[in-house]
Point group: C2
Chain length 198, copies 2
DNA sequence: CTGTAACTACACAGACCTGTGTAGTTTGTG
DNA sequence: CACAAACTACACAGGTCTGTGTAGTTACAG
């Protein structure tokens, strides 16, 4: 216990700069846009020298990719937790809509970070674009797993449909923040599930 | 007739610069992103002095808004044409999906210009954001009109659902260009229409 | 011919951008 | 203590950005 604490302290101490940089970058990139935020601003607000940013991440592009990687991890972990807390397999699928719903009514909602990155970065081979693409695949796989557990026929196909609904709700909500889009998406999802009920 | 032609010529001659600027700006903004393209590049490629750009549009922000306004007009006119060419009211709704489908499989597809603008511009009061929001409302109204003509119950609600599907397909296709998303959206649309058939 | 609208060429301000180079300091470890 | 990793401060290169100021040119209408 004491040892664990010390180790944690050490690893936190080892690169405290990188950690602060990522936190600040995540906040600013999401809120203001990737291109809109300069490395000077990030390092300044993180209370870290710009040199450290470049020593840790190599450049802005990789910092952006890291920002998305971390966001991907956290969102998937959150989703995992939400679906695990539900018992009924079919309800798990609907719980995903609940998770998205809570997110996109928040005051600080600014659309899907991955979609936004794709909008800002035309280059398909940019590291951030690859992370963004993987993120969507990850969500789809998660949905497919749940659909399979709920014993739906063609779980892959259902997962694709549900993902499209979530994307649609997110994109629509990004235009003008409201809770309607998610309710619409959820009700379509219900129709789809009911139509495939055994 | 002759008079019309002369008037057209005159009005085209009156501001040839503005026209060229808008064409070039539309192309660059869409392909490379709004923030990524500077006014110097635009005016240079349009073969027009930067001063003219500022005299005509007042600034970059208004040029961006104009770019979206024109894109909105054209897309709505195109959609109008597509749906008018179909006879069956119910088929008109599906024709909208056909129109989106053709667009998002093109080589130069870079996602929805309005969604991209919203992603790049956090400020909700930016003129471009207002145009983008209006665009989506316009499409929804168009769909609602078609749904009404096809005598569906609750046409507004159906329109909202169909718009969400189109948004989802566009967003998904923007991540990794494929034709699947639209097929998925279209098949969900079919299910929705069938479930509401008289 | 004269006036006016549209436009050009070009310099410039002032800010911001990514990225590097360098010399020196802190901090924890063997 | 000695060493190395991590970090700081700071200047700088070279570029881009939006926007303005100014003097002069072109095209056309009355």
């Amino acid at each position: 216990m004491e040892q664990t604490e010390r180790e944690e302290k050490r690893s936190m101490r080892r690169r405290p700069g990188a950690e602060r940089l990522l936190e600040v970058a995540a906040d600013l990139f999401y809120r203001e846009g990737i291109r809109a935020v300069g490395v000077d601003t990030i390092s300044q607000r993180a209370g870290v020298s710009k040199r450290t940013l470049y020593n840790r991440f190599g450049g802005k592009d990789e910092l952006v990719a890291e920002y998305l990687r971390r966001r991907d991890e956290r969102w998937r972990a959150y989703l995992q937790g939400v679906t695990e807390s539900v018992v009924e397999p079919r309800e798990k699928l609907l719980a995903v809509f609940g998770a998205y719903g809570e997110w996109l009514v928040g005051e600080d909602f600014r659309g899907c970070a991955f979609a936004n990155a794709a909008a800002e970065i035309p280059d398909h081979n940019h590291p951030a674009r690859i992370v963004a693409q993987r993120h969507k695949e990850g969500i789809k796989e998660h949905l497919a797993g749940l659909a399979k557990d709920a014993e739906f026929d063609e779980p892959e196909s259902l997962a694709e449909r549900l993902l499209l609904l979530l994307e649609g709700a997110t994109a629509t909500a990004a235009m003008r923040r409201r809770r309607e889009p998610l309710d619409v998406a959820r009700s379509i999802a219900l129709e789809l599930l009911d139509a495939r009920r055994h």
